[in-house]
């Protein structure tokens, strides 16, 4: 572990895990009654399958550090957070935590729908270990931060999910903790509140708290964490500077994803056709500059979309169009053959067109491709594969100067 090279706020260790294992014993079949249990116990048939959620993990987090945890679902990230939050105890090894922990594992855990917001603030606050007097003092600040206004005396069941999430976040973060545990909660509420909660986390960080963060957003891990650990099947695969860990992780992910996306693309090639169509899309392929199938590209790479179709009757003026959407629904572009003045006379039989982008300007993300065949005169949709094809832009290991946003404008900077 190349820890020396990284500048850490202090050397004081605040969270230390040594050889920590968490082993769940899951009974192989559900034994619901006593009688059954005793019979099986006598027969020696109570079988347990053990499952290592964490396997001899060692890790130390320093005071004032923002430490990220990444990995697939089920890799053990949440288990690790729960160990630090005292929710579960390790079955092996040792966990030492110094200081008051504010768990943002599940904001608003323990809220009761029949109680009012006010009553829930006190209930939730005492669950976090505060006294009644402390809660009285915190109460006005919590109400203000959660922006609930007059709703504070209405039962929680009348709240929207965003409102209760805001309330939970406000209670959990009102007091400066020594350690803040954040598990993907920054996606609560509307955009304005997300911004506000992010600001609060930054201010908790600025006041010297140690933050343990689990996120699937690599850009967030990279931008606010100093160090990170990549967990895989209960073990640490990589523990280093956040950027190094994220790079390694994404490298692996894009390899896997390329394989999966290609496999999925082939599965989807021939969707079940029920109704008669005068012309059908038979295959859509994404190719790189060597004409090989590829689903993961990097910004600036050449991308060719090959569309093959089969016509069952002559069609006068065919228009082939595609649409590119980002995963969150932003429509990026919709080129078609008519715009480009390409005339496609169709005779019965197979044919195809290709759309080549010499240097794709899109930045990192997951994108979806739709393909449509349209009769230009009647403006009739002949065949349409809506959001059918997926590709990813991933710039790990490639020299791409820009990092943020949707696309590169390929501009250049110069001194005036």
């Amino acid at each position: 572990m190349a820890e020396k090279a990284i500048a850490l706020p202090t050397d004081q260790t605040i969270i230390e895990l040594s050889d920590v294992s968490v082993k769940y014993r899951v009974p192989q079949e559900q034994i619901g009654t006593f009688k059954e249990y005793f019979i099986r116990l006598l027969e020696g048939k109570v079988k347990h399958r053990s499952f290592n959620a964490l396997n001899k993990v060692s890790l130390s987090v320093h005071r004032g550090e923002v430490f990220g945890l990444i990995g697939h679902n089920g890799a053990g990230k949440s288990t690790l957070l729960k160990l630090v939050a005292k929710v579960i105890r390790p079955t092996g090894g040792r966990v030492v935590v110094k200081g008051r922990v504010a768990p943002l594992l599940e904001v608003g855990a323990g809220f009761h729908p029949e109680l009012t917001g006010r009553e829930n603030i006190f209930l939730n606050g005492t669950m976090l270990g505060f006294s009644h007097e402390e809660m009285l003092e915190k109460f006005p600040r919590i109400v203000e931060f959660s922006e609930l206004g007059d709703f504070i005396d209405a039962p929680l069941r009348t709240y929207s999910s965003g409102m209760s999430a805001r309330l939970g976040f406000a209670v959990a973060t009102d007091t400066q903790p020594d350690i803040l545990i954040v598990d993907e909660v920054l996606s609560i509420g509307d955009e304005a509140f997300q911004h506000k909660s992010y600001e609060r986390i930054l201010s908790i960080k600025a006041q010297g708290a140690t933050i343990l963060l689990v996120s699937h957003s690599m850009s967030m891990i990279e931008s606010i964490c100093q160090r990170a650990a990549w967990l895989h099947r209960g073990q640490i695969l990589c523990l280093d500077n956040a950027k190094v860990v994220v790079d390694q992780y994404l490298g692996r992910v894009s390899e896997e994803e390329n394989r999966q996306l290609i496999a999925a693309a082939h599965l989807d090639e021939f969707p079940a056709q029920k109704e008669y169509k005068p012309i059908e899309i038979r295959q859509v392929r994404l190719l790189n500059d060597q004409d090989h199938d590829q689903q993961v590209f990097h910004t600036g790479e050449s991308v060719q979309v090959q569309i093959e179709y089969v016509a069952h009757e002559p069609i006068d003026s065919l228009e082939v169009g595609i649409a590119v959407h980002r995963q969150d629904g932003v429509h990026i572009t919709g080129p078609n053959t008519t715009f480009d003045g390409l005339d496609i006379p169709i005779q019965p039989g197979a044919g195809g067109v290709a759309y080549t982008v010499p240097s794709i300007p899109l930045m990192e993300g997951l994108y979806q491709l739709s393909v449509a065949l349209v009769n230009r005169d009647g403006n009739r949709m002949l065949d349409y594969h809506d959001h059918y094809y997926t590709f990813r832009i991933n710039n790990r290991g490639h020299e791409v100067r820009e990092r943020y946003g949707l696309m590169t404008l390929k501009g250049e900077w110069r001194l005036l």
């Binding site: 605040i14 769940y24 014993r25 034994i31 619901g32 009654t33 006593f34 249990y37 005071r63 729960k82 160990l83 939050a85 005292k86 929710v87 579960i88 105890r89 390790p90 090894g93 040792r94 966990v95 030492v96 935590v97 110094k98 200081g99 008051r100 768990p103 594992l105 599940e106 855990a109 323990g110 009761h112 029949e114 109680l115 009553e119 006190f122 209930l123 005492t126 669950m127 976090l128 270990g129 505060f130 006294s131 009644h132 402390e134 809660m135 039962p155 007091t175 020594d178």
Partner: protein
Amino acid sequence: MKSQTGLSVVYDSTRRGSVVLEELREIFNYRYLILQLVRRDILTRYKRSFLGVAWTMLNPLGMMLVWTIAFSQFFKAGDLPSYPAYVLNGLLAWTFFSQTTTASMVNLVWGGGLLNRIYIPRTSFAVAAMGTGLVNIGLSMFPLIGVMLVTGLKVHWSILFAPISVLILAGFALGLGLLISTLAVYFPDIAEMYQIMLMAWMFLTPVMYPVTILPEAYRFYLTMLNPMYHMVTLFRIPIYFGRLPTPSELLIPLGISLFFLTLGWLVFTKKSDEFSYRI
């Protein structure tokens, strides 16, 4: 947890001394949570009803009426000065016991997802269930005294001893509640079975009939071996019978109570680390 400054709180998973004592200390640290949980239980139970918390008192009164009308003839109630007061007195002890044990189990098994999400002392639910029961039985003293006065039974000074009876009963209920909660985590069916057992247990205990109607051949076993007989009697003595308990009437239930409380606390705390893997 008081407001700690700096890094004074240190949690070390390997250094914990006695689990049994640690849990006691934690329950004390989280006493405000217990108060809030009790408050929640009482408020939410009656939140949507018109009469609200008054039901705590109306409920046993209604039950008493039903029992009195249905059974006073069968049980030769003539032997007892005020049958309604006798029934209500016993019913309060029984209701406290059955509600506390059931609630501590149900809260843990169905509300226990909470233990997977946030750290709170694991005995919180059972202790809060007992607290809720104490509030309920405290409020129910008013209708009980009312019934005694109306039916012409003298309220004796010995009634001031009743809180001690209640505490001894509470210790027993908490201990048994912890024991069956532990079992119910492993065998959820216990929750259903327990309701049936409670029903049978109540009919075997002199709650709404005088102990004299038990056949003499079995009376000794049915009373002496039944912990709830001692508990109900200890609660009736200072109120209905209007006297102080004899040493044996006090020490037997006290011993049972301490035994079950210790056993329940030991078993529950020893097993509680496994709960979050199970619930």
